[in-house]
Symmetry: C2
Subunit: 336 residues, 2 copies
């Protein structure tokens, strides 16, 4: 492994991504300490609190069951804003298109973006289109950046987890990653696995009704639930214990993971969130989530069991406890 080169794993969202961020990108570009890393930046300007975030989407294939690169780009950025407790307001759309790409496919993707934006209640207000010669990009890449308003006094960050907090997920895990992988590899499945790609801002608004009991919100995209929880454990300096039997998992996703040797804890989600909630409000929050269309299968999957250490551990189905680390290399490239 040549240390001077960028590897696929540097884009995985896992350990190598974090190393690149911590060693090179963040110290060079900004002065935000690692503990300050969140899905979006929070900015104060003129007495208004704004959240600002960006993501580029390079998913392959660009059309997959349950969505396409366009819905992914809109929902992903909406979700990054929502995870900061912000109300998403405005999006930008930056297109990089390979020469020879189909206008019809472009039209379909743009229509999906508009639909996703309308459905999430955000407006796409500015954009940019670049075209590169054939072979210099792979069909289409989309960047969306977003601005949202923080209209409450709560501080929702990855550093907010407290001992005793319950960890709630709003539904089955690994659906997006396996849907994209199955389509890419042409797997013939008995059950069609759909990506969970969805905008979570409506669900977040429900959850935030619990006020100060809500400590952390984060969407487990690249790197999956395990990597995201490990990040939060580090940011909050706590130990998080997951209960394997409590993890909601579709049978078909479980089957594909078993056959291909993938761990669903590391598979990307695009319509899931993890909420850290004070214990006295956990059951109420769970019920609120289950009343929302995107939270019907919400479940408590773990809790913050100790202070210190930045540890994530899993109580396995057979009663053991094992440490869980971030995704080390790259499990599934170009998943988002």
């Amino acid at each position: 492994m040549n240390k001077d080169l960028i590897l696929l794993g540097h884009g995985s969202g896992g350990k190598l991504s974090h190393q690149l961020l911590d060693d090179l990108i963040i110290p060079t570009l900004s002065s935000i300490p690692q503990a300050g890393q969140n899905d979006a930046a929070v900015l104060d300007h003129g007495g208004v609190r704004l959240a600002f975030t960006t993501d580029s989407y390079v998913v392959e294939p660009i059309f997959f069951p349950g969505g396409n690169i366009g819905s992914l780009a809109v929902n992903g950025t909406v979700n990054d804003l929502a995870m900061m407790g912000a109300r998403p307001l405005f999006l930008s759309a930056g297109l990089i298109i390979e020469e020879g790409f189909s206008r019809i496919e472009l039209g379909k993707i743009l229509a999906t973006m508009r639909q996703a934006a309308d459905s999430a209640g955000v407006r796409i207000v500015t954009g940019d289109t670049k075209v590169v010669p054939r072979g210099k990009a792979d069909r289409i890449f989309i960047n969306t950046s977003g601005v949202g308003a923080i209209e409450h006094g709560l501080t929702i960050t990855g550093a907010g987890a407290k001992v005793g907090d319950k960890v709630i997920v709003n539904g089955t895990i690994g659906d997006h990653g396996i849907a994209v992988l199955a389509k890419r590899e042409g797997l013939e499945l008995e059950t069609d696995i759909q990506s969970d790609c969805a905008a979570l801002n409506g669900l977040v608004a429900e959850i935030l009704a619990e006020g100060e009991a809500i400590h952390v919100l984060r969407d487990p995209t690249r790197g999956g639930v395990a990597t995201t929880l490990k990040e939060i454990a580090l940011q909050s300096a706590v130990t998080i214990t997951l209960t394997e039997t409590a993890l909601p998992l579709q049978g078909a996703v479980k089957g594909v993971c078993a056959i291909l040797g993938l761990d669903p804890l590391y598979v990307a989600n695009e319509g899931k969130l993890l909420a850290f909630v004070a214990p006295e409000a956990a059951e109420r929050t769970l019920q609120r989530m289950r009343r929302h269309p995107l939270g019907k299968e919400a479940a408590i999957i773990g809790e913050v069991t100790a202070a210190g250490a930045g540890r994530l551990q899993l109580e396995t189905a057979v009663g053991g406890v094992r440490a869980v680390e971030m995704l080390a290399g790259e499990q599934l490239p170009r998943i988002c």
Copy 2:
């Protein structure tokens, strides 16, 4: 020409770009009418006026005399905010990197981004890194989005040009495009042509001291001075007349253009702006600009000569007048 495919010219910033925007992208993604198109969107939120903009950078080569893709990405987005009369505040950085790209080159690019941001007085506050397999992108693409504050009551838009306005440019034209082209093609020049890549927000602040006399500000990037002025002529429904002999042009740039059959009016700039100024304030504005390091060679290059028609015309050195249209196809791909 297959009408169903995206062509290089669709990314030129010229006529094909406008067709794609007007026929497909804007009607699908948003409801902003063509006359509302500007370098950035202006948003009202909580009594605060914000400008929001995005641009992706795909320049090739990524290092060129006078800058690299990093300084271009920061300055370009700073300039789009400044052209709306906004004070640039916050930037995002979205990196798409090809597997195998050099960490050392990445470090150089990021350091340049930071330097450019510091020098323009903006902060890079959020980012994203994706890595795609070798051959699926060309080294590195960078998206920057930006948020700025509009702290005055002026309305600076492409629709604001008025009959009698003088058109001022802050220096020589075509430098960026020719610097990139010369490097890309390995042209051996006697004089090293440097890109004019620079942040224009400081210069804009000087210009805005003239208040309501400033009607339009725009940076003539892709498509060059001609395409930008034609856009403004259309948005403002006026006729603009340029004086060929007044156009500031470096000898070396003129020489390369002559040899390669390029028209400098269509060559990209990255540190130039066009200001439309009420006639009574034009001379004062020119003097203000000339006192600024980025405006030493500022010149009045034309004026708004009539209402209606959306025409751009050039009074040539030999005394004729000819119509000037937008860049039709793609003169220099991947210039920014």
